[in-house]
């Protein structure tokens, strides 16, 4: 008798289990999902009437491409949906209203924010994105000059999927080539929330294609600079390299062109290491940045380099790099935004000095002197034997 009960109980457990493992109320079949790969956000506020526009690309399941039809057009695998509304929530519901499938946000590779939205209301969006349970912390945060919708419309340059292209660029290549830096959502939110640093975001622009006749394409180049939660400017390519030199340890292949004796040389930066040292004296704060660079010269305009030449070249390179970094620092001061992390470093190393700064730490940063010391080495000359 007792044994029978036990078997009965076990049976109930097993049945329960099979119900649980389907996810019960939250179950979603793959066929009914619309996998969102990119989410673009635009915002306008004209005379108090707020309008959000959310545009997103949705991955088409492979089965849906018609047979015999080669996926020649780039946007074949991603469908673009657009919706508008007065609040973010309303908008997000609106853009999927046409689709029979439920959107799934777990595979977003980047949020693309339009210029207007970044200027006026980025905090609201990033907060929503951080809270949302399907979102992931390492999604890229990309700002564009103009509208996010344009970026999504322009489509990928090389890859089949724009989302994949942006993800790979942002995560690996942008830093290695010095074009930009892949800022993730959590990086951004952390900077936004910190009391001592201003955020930056990756910048993607729509540019005419380099191959004639192919229309427009996207280019990840430069960075968007924020002051607190407000977009205030951009960094161009040179300034971006300066930003990377100061804030990152690069491991890549960044070209650097300079002129010596009327000849163009091209140096490539392969690894850099940097260190920011705040120097606090009784009445003022200054910063010292040490950058150690290793790299090589492959293209040497037919010249043969000997040991002395290399020394001279190293000096020139150091000057050039220092110049680049200084440009960025100047830009930061011009924008009144400490996105380089100087004040953050001060906060971490010299607590008492930070406490005296109080709320006008940006002003103090603007007047602080910054000294940049570059130590560049040429480890490869690319010369082959005679």
């Amino acid at each position: 008798m007792k044994k029978k009960y036990r078997i009965f109980g076990l049976l109930i457990l097993i049945i329960l289990q099979s119900v649980i493992s389907t996810g019960c109320w939250s179950s979603k079949e793959v066929e009914s999902l619309a996998v969102v790969t990119l989410l673009g956000v635009d915002y306008t506020n004209e005379n108090g009437s707020v309008q959000w526009t959310v545009s997103s690309t949705i991955l088409n399941p492979l089965g849906q491409t018609k047979e015999g039809e080669q996926s020649s057009a780039k946007s074949d695998q991603e469908t673009l949906l657009v919706g508008t509304g007065r609040t973010l929530q309303e908008t997000i519901t609106a853009f999927t209203a046409h689709s029979s499938r439920t959107p799934y946000y777990g595979h977003i590779s980047a949020y693309i924010i339009g210029e207007k939205a970044a200027k006026e209301n980025i905090g609201e969006f990033t907060e929503a994105a951080t809270r949302y349970w399907e979102g992931r912390p390492r999604t890229l945060l990309i700002v564009t000059k103009g509208k996010a919708l344009d970026v999504l419309q322009a489509g990928p340059a090389v890859d089949k999927l724009l989302s994949k292209e942006l993800k790979e660029l942002g995560m690996k290549k942008a830093l290695a080539t010095g074009y930009s830096y892949g800022v993730t959502l959590f990086d951004f939110v952390e900077w936004l929330k910190s009391p001592d640093r201003d955020p930056v975001a990756t910048l993607v622009n729509v540019v005419p294609s380099e191959v004639p006749g192919l229309g427009q394409q996207n280019l990840m180049e430069g960075l968007a600079v924020f002051q607190g939660g407000r977009l205030i400017g951009w960094l161009n390519k040179d300034e971006t390299i300066g930003y990377l030199l100061i804030t990152q340890n690069i491991n890549g292949d960044i070209p650097l062109t300079f002129i010596k004796d009327n000849k163009l040389f091209s140096y490539y930066i392969s690894t850099t290491k940097r260190k920011i040292l705040p120097v606090v004296t009784s009445d003022k704060i200054s910063y010292r940045v040490q950058i150690k660079v290793m790299g090589g010269i492959i293209e040497n305009s037919g010249l043969r380099l000997n040991a002395e030449d290399i020394k001279v070249l190293e000096n020139i390179i150091e000057d050039r790099l220092q110049d680049l970094a200084m440009q960025t620092v100047d830009k930061a001061k011009e924008y009144n935004s400490d996105f380089l992390g100087f004040t953050e470093k001060l906060h971490r190393t010299d607590l008492s000095a930070w406490q005296t700064l109080g709320s006008d730490w940006r002003k103090v940063f603007r007047t602080a002197e910054v000294e940049i010391v570059v130590d560049a080495k040429i480890v490869q000359t690319g010369m082959m034997g005679e």
């Binding site: 109980g9 457990l13 329960l16 649980i20 996810g23 019960c24 109320w25 939250s26 777990g106 951080t130 349970w133 992931r136 912390p137 390492r138 995560m171 690996k172 959590f186 939110v189 952390e190 929330k193 910190s194 009391p195 906060h347 971490r348 190393t349 607590l351 930070w354």
Partner: protein, 353 residues
């Protein structure tokens, strides 16, 4: 091991966020610091256990305080264990709701967790302990995996400045976590059932130490990844840590597996506490066996876990504001009073029922 799982599980979900909110970048110290009262609690329980090696907590409260008062205190302890258990059911079902299945009604999670716990409890403590033995390595893996795989992204600089704003925020930040370590009080009931009671002192201390190290390390890594300002904002920092793992396309989205292992851990915890509640109830009511109490108890659990807190914010507020003090009374104050009275009245092991 059992103790370790019990402590770890609840320490993992909510505490890091609550602590980081107050103690900022020194939150990892706060969490380590919070284990100290836990050791004190262990010592008191150990002393009490030594005086009454054959009796459990609800029994020796009666011996120490007399029949009537002892029953009251025993009843209070039943309520306390009940509360701890309801909270842990609640905690985990809220976690599942928020991070996995928002559409599923919480009562489903609660019912499943409680029924499994009830089944385990009806089988007795040894079964639970054996299950814990099996689960322990899996559980440790689920903790180590996130910690190891975020190593490349760690920035030690985010822990600086060390002890900003003095020691006070750290102490305040440690308050909500004290209760977690204090859950070692379950030993007061379990002690007589252990095979080698002499070893319990060392094993318990070891479990506390290991839990303190793990929780503190988890907090430290969370801080080093997300920074002090963001960690306090996140509901489940450690959860986000496991979400953060991403090695291009080889290793990512591991949080599902990790959450599954946590779920196994929480079931062990629920089963143990469930057993304690039923056992203590039976002892206080002078029942012969605790088994008739097991399934009726589920009728208390499921509605309580479902309807006690209307939403997340309320739950968090409760954990932060009221629960520490309640826990403090039951985990430190009451046991020390018991010990004190026992010493004065010179009640010894000679008394047996």
């Amino acid at each position: 091991m059992l103790l370790y799982i019990i402590i770890m599980i609840s320490g993992l979900l909510f505490m890091p966020g609550l602590t980081a909110e107050k103690a900022k970048q020194s939150a990892w110290i706060a969490i380590a610091l919070a284990s100290l009262p836990g050791f004190l609690c262990l010592w008191i329980v150990w002393k009490l256990g030594k005086r009454f090696p054959k009796n459990t907590l609800p029994e020796y409260t009666e011996i120490i305080l007399g029949k009537a008062l002892g029953k009251v205190v025993g009843g209070a302890y039943i309520l306390f264990f009940l509360m701890v258990n309801i909270l842990s059911v609640c905690e985990f079902s809220k976690f599942l709701t928020v991070s996995f299945m928002p559409q599923t009604p919480p009562i489903a999670f609660n019912a499943i967790l409680v029924l499994i716990g009830a089944y385990a409890a009806s089988k007795g403590i040894e079964v639970i302990a054996r299950a814990a033995q099996f689960i322990f390595p899996l559980f440790v893996i689920s903790l180590l995996l996130p910690l190891i795989s975020v190593l490349p992204a760690v920035k030690v600089g985010k822990l600086l400045p060390f002890l900003e704003g003095g020691i006070l925020p750290v102490i305040w930040g440690s308050v909500p976590s004290i209760i977690v370590y204090g859950e070692i009080i379950v030993l007061a009931v379990l002690l007589p059932m252990v095979n080698k009671p002499e070893e319990v002192k060392h094993k318990g201390a070891f479990a506390l130490l290991a839990a303190a190290i793990f929780l503190s390390a988890g907090m430290m890594f969370t801080l080093m990844i997300f920074g002090p300002n963001l960690s306090g904002e996140l509901l489940f920092p450690f959860w986000f840590l496991s979400k953060y793992i991403e090695f291009s396309s080889y290793l990512q989205r591991v949080e599902g597996i990790i959450a599954l292992l946590w779920m196994v851990g929480i079931i062990i915890k629920i089963a143990v506490l469930y057993y304690l509640v039923c056992f203590a109830t039976a002892k206080t009511l002078d029942l012969k066996s605790y088994k008739p109490v097991v399934y009726p108890m589920a009728l208390v659990y499921i509605p309580a876990a479902t309807f006690l807190f209307r939403n997340m914010t309320e739950f968090r507020q409760f954990l932060e504001l009221y629960w520490p003090y309640l826990g403090f009374i039951f985990e430190l104050v009451l046991p020390s009073i018991l010990l004190f009275v026992a010493v004065i009245r010179k009640k010894q092991r000679s008394v047996s029922r």
